[in-house]
Amino acid sequence: MSLTKKNITQATIFTGLVWFIVVFLIAPNITTVTDVFWQDGEFTMRAIERMRNAPRAMQALRNSFIIAPVLSVTVGFVGVTLVLITDYFKVFGAKILRLGYMTTLLYSGIVLVSGYVFLYGNNGFVTNILVQIFPNLEQDWFSGFWAVLFVMTFAATGNHMIFIRNALRSVDYQTIEVARNLGASSFTILWRVVLPVLLPSLTAVTVFTFLGGLSAIAAPLLVGGPDFRAITPLILQLSRLQGSRDIAALLALILGVSSILLIAVFSLLEKRGHYLSVSKVKTDLVKQKIRNPVVNVFVHIYAYVLFLIYISPVVMIVLFSFTDSRTIARREFNFSALTLDNYIAALTQNFSPFMTSAIYSFLAATGVAVLMLLVCRIITKHKGKASTAIEYAFMIPWLLPTVLIAWGLVATFNRPQWFMFNQPLANTTTIMVLGYLIICIPFTLRMTRASFFSIDDTLEDAAKNLGAKPMYAFLRIIIPVILPSVLAIFALNFNRLLAEFDMSVFMYNPLSVPLGVEIENLTMAGDSGGDSAELVFVYTVIIMAISALVLYLVYGRNSKIGID
């Protein structure tokens, strides 16, 4: 009797998961492919032809495929030097510098770009200073390829501050000492002993920088100007034009295929192996003194210039968030203009985008946590071909850029589908939450799976041996053990989604605009002389405060996730 009940429950869960995979992870991609290659009931290459004849599309493709590799180099250089400054060389004030360099972990995406616009954009704080020095400088000088490259370079070094820093910490100091003992110079030690240890992490981070550059949307939209079109903003634009949707779908598909190819290459590189310390007793890294005085001065100047670049948008945003709209419009800070009015207004009259995003994020972060608990339970408990297939299927979103996922969902569910019980989802809260949930699946799956694998199997056996039924043992023994990790993953997902832009801009309902889209709207309006900047600043400060709290709780003391 109980065996039958158990089988029915298992079959129901399995069917539910397969339905989710087919409907939300596979069907949208099939829709995208058919949108491109299947028109008027027959196979066609018309979309490719149309794209080749569309100068804007070809220019966007060219631009994106140029900025991605260039960005990989600039981010790699800046990112590695940041880590060396804070953790390898003896640099005065390294702890303060590190805090400055890590600000991109507190705010990113559209929020960060809007901060740079405030400084360097039309009528920006730095622009106004530069115009006074160079009267011939145009107000909108910060626009186009170089502006996008500048913003994205400093926006994308957050991963270096986590992963490359961790890799650097894994360097065994004895290997440096032995190299010195064998007569190696400081440069040789850095180049031949230290950097090879960082290489696997650097490769991984560079691949994701490349993918980020390829599918960038916030920076090209806000600082790209009329001359710099990139793929994703163009997809967004074309998706709103009835006659150009096939080109938009094709561009999304090109992004997707490029991502898959790049990740495949990365996987091959990863299989070549890591450099693991073979020391019996590993010793911690000791910071290296820069012996050459000229190089030492140069490194210090470089470190503090970077610090200024990183910290100034944050400082300006925090300071100006407490001033009135006139002061913000003039970009002239004045202590007498300090006020809490912006915060009061944002938290009373303009709280709707924040609430919308908070609700979407909460629902998606909760949903993905519960779903991945179920999936990971199946993966770890029932090892076999079916569970492996489920695991791989849930990793599909990892391979695809957000724009392709968004496009697929919109294209699939803007009309009733039998597999969705003929319920149209376009412009509903459900599709927004689903979109958010899907982009959180790969990270949540990997982290939850790791938590499950760290649990000793005998705990559950012991509970059963003491008379507990499987579900009781799971709820009473397993859940309390993994709960801290699940909550940490939930907090990180919530934090990531709060100002999400890439997915939101494709799927939001105009009646309930999420925070990321609202910030973009306000930044665009502010750039053309409106008085909406104070709202952006208040939202940014609140987001930074929430991010700081989440990061402290997750990565701070008693860290439950082993990233830092």
């Binding site: 109980s2 000793d456 005998t458 705990l459 056996d461 012991a462 509970a463 059963k464 041996n465 003491l466 008379g467 507990a468 039924k469 009781y472 009473r476 023994i477 309390p480 053990v481």
Partner: protein
């Protein structure tokens, strides 16, 4: 009490256990002994219900429990790493099984106080998290947790294997005392032959999923039925054909003798006097000294009780003798 009848367990094409027949008596301390991978833990998990046998039956007091769910068997288990619930205090760990059985709160408290007293856990220790306890205390919590629900049998899966040598001996003695105190039927799994010999009423020696020998510790040690058991239990000398040539003993069998059965300069009436052999090295163990002897090309070992002075010098010749009835002989090719 426990009757294992013709138990076989297959994992795909691999046979983990084949034709196991064991009857464990009530109140007995029964040990499953064997090297890694011999199937002892698989057999224990079959008894507790974590593994369903491919064929055969498991009965307790005449009742067939082969297909009964783990949680309904009422067989306590102490795991190799104790499997204490890290999110709970010592008290909550011990109370877990009673709460599952929906015992009234007052009774739970009473039962826990009683068991805590018997395993010598004090009140302060009861409020601690399990990771704040020493290895020995953790073992007592695991035993208390297994015993508090009054199981009919307790199974222990190498509970001493993670401990250092001194603590292992101390806890081994405590374990035996507790078993005597509770009088509970105990099935113990270990790969440590010394542990098995000192603790057990009876031992089943397993090898490659089959029982090699089942008997009392002295039977297993002194009358090893197979060459595998003779080699697995204790130190032993293999007597070469060259060594046997000087005796009237048959040479068509593989012959062994325990170290303590081989005498130097101490012939007795019923002994075969083998002759002179040279001492080549010695190992000092404190309680005794182990000497390596070269018997005209055959290397042998003997042990002598430590009397405070070295009995033999390196290079010294000693007169070897032994009782022929102490020899262990097996047909050639018997080694499993």
């Amino acid at each position: 009490m426990i009757d294992l009848s013709d138990i076989s367990v297959d994992f795909g094409n691999f046979s983990a256990l084949t034709g196991i027949n064991i009857e464990v008596r009530e109140g007995e301390f029964f040990t499953l002994l064997g090297p890694s991978g011999c199937g002892k833990t698989t057999l224990l998990r079959t008894i507790t219900g974590f593994i369903a046998p491919t064929s055969g039956t498991v009965s307790v007091s005449g009742k067939d429990i082969t297909r009964l769910d783990v949680e309904k068997r009422n067989i306590g288990m102490v795991f190799q790493n104790y499997a204490l619930f890290p999110s709970m205090s010592v008290y909550e760990n011990i109370a877990f099984g009673l709460r599952v059985k929906k015992i009234p709160k007052g009774d739970i408290r009473k039962k826990i106080e009683e068991i805590a007293h018997r395993v010598e856990l004090d009140e302060t220790q009861m409020t601690r998290k399990v990771n704040q306890l020493s290895g020995g205390q953790q073992q007592r919590v695991a035993i208390a947790r297994a015993l508090v629900t009054s199981p009919s049998i307790i199974c222990l899966d190498e509970p001493l294997s993670n401990l250092d040598a001194k603590l292992r001996i101390q806890l081994r003695n405590e374990l035996k005392d507790l078993q005597r105190k509770f009088g509970i039927t105990t099935i113990y799994v270990t790969h440590d032959q010394e542990e098995a010999l000192t603790l057990s009423d009876r031992i089943a020696v397993l090898n490659k999923g089959k029982i090699e020998q089942l008997g009392k510790p002295n039977e297993i040690y002194n009358h090893s039925e197979t060459e595998f058991v003779c080699n697995f239990i204790g130190d032993i000398n293999r007597l070469t054909p060259e060594f046997l040539k000087k005796t009237d003993l048959p040479m068509d069998k593989t012959t062994y003798i325990r170290l303590e059965q081989l005498y130097a300069n101490a012939p007795k009436q019923n002994h075969i006097i083998w002759g002179e052999a040279k001492v080549t090295s010695s190992e000092y163990y404190g309680l005794y000294i182990k000497y390596t002897i070269d018997a005209q090309g055959t290397t042998l070992k003997i042990v002598e009780k430590n009397s405070g002075v070295a009995m033999y010098k390196i290079g010294e010749n000693v007169n070897l003798s032994f009782d022929p009835s102490s020899l262990l002989q097996y047909e050639r090719g018997d080694q499993s």
